[in-house]
Symmetry: C2
């Protein structure tokens, strides 16, 4: 039997945590919280009794549609905290009625046409890695179809001269890289979900890769987009830059499946890096490390990696003693040695009181270089989280962006609110922070919290903490999301953040493109 | 008497060309075309007999509205070729009925409210530098008001930590720089219209500065925007980056006054450069120079200046012998010496067969450095053009962007079409090209044409050539405009370039924000 995606855990079935893994996870948390946590039992597909489908695919769609338990269960959720908990519990109470696996645009058009005519909700589904409730079928729909784009997975054309490639929306990160590698090219976009997220998903949610400065959001790499809607096809022209009216691509970017189904895009790709420099510097406080990062990015050195870890994160992720913040720097280039840039950056770091603790140059860089290692451990994290479910743990992340002048107050306010909520809800817990991205005008802080909840009440408890965090981000002037998207979980705060008249414009466009509101209802905004 | 803007020429009244200047312009072109061209006489304000106003400001607006001949004439046009010709002829047949000079947002709201209620067109007016018919009152309206934002001209707040400033939309380029200079900051956005274009105009038209790579379009510098519409106020949040839904700012950018009136924006500013490097290298052909530019930008060296001039432009602008193409390179930084970057860039240029003809390092740079000199001569160009009107000359520019793989064919097709049109319409003429901007995936070519038409028929003749150029850009796969905007002149080609469903989305948003369609009718798209 060939391997396939686990219907409940992050990754393939072959990597589902075994009983021993779950035991180890529970033991580690037992030690951490000084209590005795018994691991739960993972769900079994054969135990699931799904609601009978409310609608069935018509003949015209039947050849590529499936209503098996596995397919419906797998497409019930993304990978948010409540998703992970509900899946582990075997709670699949609101599955899509069937799953469509289109092989071509004509199939997608047929699905959209049928859903439009019958008022059936259609949920575009890439890798299913949403952490914000972005791929969940709407509860109130008379029927829901998951539209899984996995068969549209090819790099169709490569333009090595312009460094661009035409890529189908359903291609997963590793597949894109594998198809570009023979050309010496890379998209170089590595979100934490890299293994199980798709080009179309990245564009629909304005994904940000793990590179830290300059061109890092997927937004910057989109040269043109093709999108199918119930009202017809939307296709923009391949252009390196432009000024003709508002950017059509920027209206698709972030639309989260509510305006149409992205089928392919021309993407800006890059030559594979050959030269690499990496370094780490410790600072007495996160504020000093942040100052160093600010000066480096404002000097336009554009490091590929420029992360600031607070003392908590530096201890957990880099083995430091918990008293010092860490600045991680990396430079990469396909064309030019990077020692000069690293030297300049470290000078600024030293000037802010930093102490270099590690420096490795790998010129030319190998696949086992430090940046590649970081990337790998970064994409392994969801597998660790697979083992931390089922015994009451509440662990999640949230992220934002804020201007430098507001940063220290923002951080104080957010920490205060969330720590207060952790205490109120769970009697305590930890909250750490790092910068995942730094811009000349501000950082993108990324917070991780861990607390022990009551088994069975995790979701309600999580909701309280999550609401406190979201409320704090919004009130302190940040965005509700820098790269996790809005989905369902951030929707009410997004309504406050976005200009009201922009939401009205989105609604007006929605009525034109999707008049029966069948596209991903419940996500991003209410039409 | 204090100086004021000329109602017909580029610049202030004090710099209107004198009879001797016009004579000199005509003589130069007489020599060039081997004929005898007599200069025309400039228009006199006292000779103008404008159409009686069709509407008058109500009492509520009267205190800041003017219907004098000067004000109405000055607000009749931008600075396109047909604008220049019509102004010189004294043809002011379609002036706005009156001009509003709001001092505050409340004044703008009052104008919008009155125009909305009375179906009177309102044309947002910044510096009046449009070269695409973007500020002309619509012919068919029952009345038209020019809304001149010049009194909203302040830098209201400076955030030196985040390097950002809150700037009013009506501030002209030099005023913005003068207000930022005491803080050691600069917006560093220098379109050719710099002296007489405004922040609001730059945002509304997606202006591009004369810097050549990386962050150069005004799009990249906008942190948040405030816009007034007949339906209320649109305000986005200051954020260094984000992923919450489609970007609201990117929907305002390029809307050309059709969705609302931009009143202020938080802009990303920069420390004033202290280190500069400049160099020029010649190449046997433009293609080789283009290859060098491509490699430099794909190596992510991000030069501030990276222009490729064909042999014709290199002869005219840099005094070369007309047989060689020129690559102009510049690097700038507030923080770090730039010799290393220049060395790397020149190595790539040499590798492509370039020969360095000039190299100056100015470290630290002075205000009289080569880059500053270039900028000054660049912004002087419209004054030269002031002297080339009235005797039948047809001179204009058009611009686009195209991916590298399509570039050589694109250039061939465009040159063939336009040279053919020049020959057909004028019996010949010159066409030259330079790259104003270079992206990793393609250049932004900028063409200049000059031909001798028949005095009195210049506009009809220009229209034929312009149509041939626009048709060629569109057919060859480029954009109808990289940074001149759409206005009226590019509208029919923009309709073909933009995704049809995006135009429908714009129309749907327009109906919501400006239900009576009073905002800049005739520009960008038809509602």
């Amino acid at each position: 039997m060939t391997d396939k995606r686990s219907f409940w855990a992050w990754g393939m079935e072959s990597r589902e945590p075994a009983a021993a893994d779950l035991q180890r996870g529970a033991r580690a948390m037992s030690e951490r919280f000084g209590t005795d946590l018994a691991p739960g039992s993972p769900p079994r597909l054969s135990d699931l009794r799904l609601r009978a489908p409310r609608v069935s695919p018509p003949k015209t769609l039947a050849s590529f549609c499936v209503a098996e338990t596995y397919d419906r269960a797998f497409h019930s959720y993304g990978h948010s905290f409540p998703d992970r908990v509900r899946k582990f519990r075997g709670d699949f109470s609101n599955p899509p009625d069937f799953v469509a696996y289109p092989a071509a645009e004509a199939d997608i058009e047929a699905v959209l046409g049928w859903c439009h005519s019958n008022g059936v909700a259609v949920v575009p589904f890439g890798g299913g890695s949403s952490v914000v409730g972005g791929v969940e079928p709407p509860v109130e729909a008379p029927g829901a179809v998951a539209l899984d784009l996995r068969r549209l997975n090819r790099v169709i054309e490569v333009d090595a001269t312009s460094r661009a490639a035409r890529i189908q929306a359903g291609a997963l990160g590793p597949s894109i890289e594998a198809q570009l590698r023979p050309h010496g090219l890379t998209l170089r976009h590595f979100p934490q979900s890299f293994e199980f997220s798709t080009l179309g998903g990245w564009i629909a949610t304005r994904s940000a890769g793990h590179y830290a400065t300059n061109h890092t959001h997927i937004d910057e790499f989109v040269e043109s987009v093709r999108m199918l809607t119930p009202a017809g096809t939307w296709g923009s022209r391949r252009l390196p830059g432009g000024g003709a009216g508002p950017s059509p691509d920027r209206f698709v970017l972030g639309s989260e499946g509510t305006l149409g189904v992205i089928t392919e895009a021309w993407m800006r790709v890059q030559a594979r890096p050959r030269f690499r420099e990496a370094a780490g510097a410790v600072f007495p406080t996160m504020e000093r490390a942040a100052e160093a990062a600010r000066r480096i990015v404002q000097a336009k050195l554009w490091p590929a990696n420029c992360r600031v870890l607070d003392a908590g994160e530096a201890a957990a992720a880099a083995g430091l003693d918990g008293s010092k913040a860490l600045l991680v720097l990396g430079f990469e280039s396909a064309e030019l040695p990077q020692e000069g840039s690293m030297r300049d950056a470290l000078e600024l770091a030293l000037d802010e009181g930093g102490k270099v603790v590690e420096r490795t140059g790998a010129t030319p860089a190998s696949e086992s270089g430090p940046v590649e290692k970081w990337r790998r451990s970064f994409v392994e994290m969801p597998y660790v989280w697979n083992t931390l479910v089922g015994f009451g743990l509440i662990n999640d992340t949230f992220e934002s962006a804020i201007t430098w002048d507001q940063w220290p107050d923002f951080d104080r306010a957010v920490r205060e609110s969330v720590q207060d909520a952790l205490k109120r809800v769970c009697g305590g817990g930890t909250l750490t922070c790092r910068f995942t991205h730094v811009y000349p005008d501000g950082p993108a802080p990324y917070y991780t919290f861990t607390a022990l909840g009551r088994r069975g009440s995790e979701i309600a408890m999580w909701k309280e903490i999550k609401a406190a965090a979201s409320e704090a981000l919004e009130k302190a002037g940040g965005t509700i999301t820098h790269h996790h998207a809005v989905g369902r979980d951030h929707k009410s705060w997004y309504q406050r953040e976005a200009p009201g008249l922009f939401l009205e414009s989105l609604r007006a466009a929605k009525r034109r493109l999707d008049p029966n509101c069948v596209l991903n209802p419940g996500v991003l905004f209410d039409p």
